[in-house]
């Protein structure tokens, strides 16, 4: 702590009174290095602030022209006769972002927790390492490769399944509106599945860290009472790691919302709000990626503004998530 309070005021003094610091055999380089390290640390905060400020500036015309109409389902980025854009509501993209992220979480969270529990509680340590490598490989496959595979291989295959399911649930009350009317293999659901593959590694590794902090004494206590392994997990591991797992899930949500290229390729690119999960849709990052190149004027401002909205969402979610994970870690230290 003293190091920091020492660095700040000493900044100007160090440069002005360098002869004195030489007397103390405290070379200028020492102060300089401390300041250098501090500024590298501050750079993180500066970048985050600059992201918010500069993108908002570029998007200002959209925010001011549309006001709260940015949250309407009204997207038609073609100028009217007067050369003005009047239909730039982003609700369909926000909806698509939310729905694909939720689909991804529903699929990825149970699988990730299963792997995390398997790694921490079931398999011996020497088996755990190769499994971790395999799961991490999922994260190394670049987003665009998931997208390429998704659109050229996975989506055509899914299309048959979608058609079969849609035929089966036609007219059924809740299932019909959810799983009916597939248009093509590209859809909210396809994007959700691809996202699930992509966020599984991060949710797994964070849940694993959290679950690994459960005190051995709690687990041994449960076993001593005659619990089976699953009962031990429910009774000792779960209550202890609940909060941290929620954080891991939120981080996965943040990743899923911000994932761009894979989604841009497989979501089908049509700004619609529909309950049909097998229908084509759009999401915030993918519309930015697909249309930014051809945009100009207020259309471009709208896309940048959607970036600002996405940035705000992900920052909030990540702050909540990291907070939850850190609280969990602190409680471990306290215990």
């Amino acid at each position: 702590m003293s190091a920091v309070t020492g660095v700040d005021p000493a900044g100007p003094v160090g440069s002005a009174g360098s002869p004195r610091s030489l007397e103390h055999k405290r070379p200028l380089g020492d102060r300089g290095f401390a300041i250098l390290a501090l500024s590298a640390g501050l750079l993180v905060l500066v970048i985050l602030v600059l992201i918010a400020v500069t993108t908002s500036q570029q998007a200002a015309s959209w925010f001011s022209a549309e006001g709260f109409k940015i949250f309407t389902n009204n997207w038609n980025p073609t100028p009217n006769n007067a050369g003005q854009y009047t239909q730039l509501g982003a609700l369909a993209f926000i909806y698509g972002t939310a729905i694909t992220a939720v689909i991804a979480l529903i699929m990825a969270v149970p699988v990730s927790l299963g792997i995390a529990l398997l790694l921490t509680e079931v398999v011996p340590r020497r088996w755990a390492r190769p499994i971790v490598y395999v799961v991490d490989l999922l994260a190394v496959v670049p987003s665009v490769v998931w997208g390429l595979w998704g659109i050229l291989v996975f989506a055509p295959w899914l299309q048959h399944i979608y058609t079969d399911i849609a035929g089966g649930v036609d007219g059924v009350p809740v299932l019909g509106p959810l799983f009916g009317q597939p248009v093509s293999g590209a859809s909210f659901f396809t994007a959700g599945i691809i996202l699930a593959f992509m966020i599984t590694p991060i949710v797994t590794s964070l849940s694993r860290e959290v679950i690994a902090t459960v005190p051995a004494i709690d687990k041994e206590g449960a076993y001593a009472l005659g619990a089976t392994r699953w009962e031990m997990i429910r009774g000792a591991v779960w209550p202890h790691s609940q909060g941290g797992v929620v954080g891991a899930v939120l981080l996965g949500l943040g990743r899923a919302m911000g994932e761009t290229i894979a989604v841009a390729l497989v979501i089908g690119s049509s700004p619609e709000i529909t309950s049909h999960l097998f229908a084509t849709g759009y999401s915030l990052p993918s519309v930015i990626a697909n249309q930014f190149g051809e945009s100009s004027g207020e259309f471009r401002a709208a896309l940048l503004g959607m970036g600002v909205i996405l940035f705000a969402f992900t920052i909030i979610i990540n702050v909540l998530a990291r907070g939850a994970v850190e609280r969990n870690a602190r409680r471990k230290r306290g215990a």
């Binding site: 590298a40 792997i115 050229l152 761009t260």
Partner: protein, 301 residues
């Protein structure tokens, strides 16, 4: 079912032991199933990329140019400009992000300690790892490219965007390694009269170097595969551009993206070929990082 899920409080002999045992087995089975659910798509992706990409890989494909138009049949031209662009841009991003990231980690661990400022910086750098990569692209577009017009589109702008993406990853991984450096090393050098900067540079960092290198390589692997930050920053070149600081450039992920949604078989072939090249680059980086880590941990034990 309900009786058993009521929890371990009422573990008693009235419950059929067989059901409790079976339930445990079912749950363990589900955990194993979740591994399989992960391995299957991963295997599918890798096999498909290798099967479809291998046929287009050749020396002239990897190094030749210019990049042909999307309607061109397979075998024309090559993705050499994209390979060069990826290497240039990622290298420049690494040169920017890794030193800054290590310095920030040094601040967090060696100088910041438990101060509130270090806590905030550490927390926000974790939060920054969750900022979507496309936001980094929009950021560099808004702060750099837009003020320079077409001249702003260059490999350098793309490298800035990738550097923003890498920075928090490098900070986090370097910080974790620095924390593991034993205090006795620092105290020993202080006792010899070394200044703090000197201790950090000549004792602490060398002790942590393998971990820092492997963490940085993972960040490089992540950055090399990113498309979104480059979309608005580097323009679209079809010929090799050896000057990373001026003129439009291109990169492997952008080529895959451009070819992925095309109905032309030539374009799709090039897409798969580029995908195989990109995956190979990312995997090699990751394997090297793992080897370094494995060596490091054995050494420190």
């Amino acid at each position: 079912m309900t009786a058993a899920t009521a929890g371990p409080q009422q573990v008693d002999l009235r419950e059929p032991a067989g059901w409790r045992r079976n339930k445990n087995r079912i749950m363990t089975g589900l955990m194993v199933l979740s591994i399989i659910l992960v391995v299957i798509p991963l295997g599918f992706v890798l096999v498909t990329v290798i099967a479809k990409g291998a046929s287009s890989i050749s020396w002239s494909f990897l190094t030749g140019g210019p990049i042909p138009s999307i309607v061109a049949p397979a075998g024309v031209g090559g993705i050499g400009p994209a390979v060069l662009g990826t290497i240039e841009i990622t290298a420049l991003a690494t040169a920017i992000a890794v030193p800054l990231g290590i310095l920030a980690a040094v601040y967090l661990n060696e100088y910041g300690g438990k101060s509130w400022l270090a806590a905030i910086i550490g927390f926000m750098s974790d939060v920054m790892t969750g900022v979507p990569s496309i936001i980094m692209g929009l950021f560099i577009f808004s702060i750099w490219v837009v003020h320079r017009g077409l001249a702003g589109l260059s490999g350098f702008a793309g490298a800035l965007a990738l550097a923003c993406l890498m920075l928090p990853i490098v900070i986090r991984s370097s910080y974790e390694v620095l924390r593991l450096v034993p205090n006795a090393l620092r105290e020993g050098s202080y006792a010899l009269g070394a200044s703090k900067a000197r201790v950090t540079v000549t004792v602490v960092l060398p002790a942590a170097v393998s971990g820092i290198v492997s963490g940085s390589l993972l960040a490089v692997a992540r950055a090399a595969g990113e498309t979104a930050p480059l979309l608005f920053c580097i323009g679209a070149a079809t010929a090799a551009n050896p000057n990373v600081f001026s003129g439009a450039d291109t990169a492997l992920p952008l080529q895959i993206f451009a070819n992925a949604n095309q109905p032309y078989p030539g374009a799709q072939d090039r897409g798969w070929g580029a995908a195989l090249t990109l995956i190979a680059i990312c995997f090699i980086l990751m394997i090297v990082a793992r080897l370094i880590t494995a060596r490091f941990t054995r050494y420190s034990r």
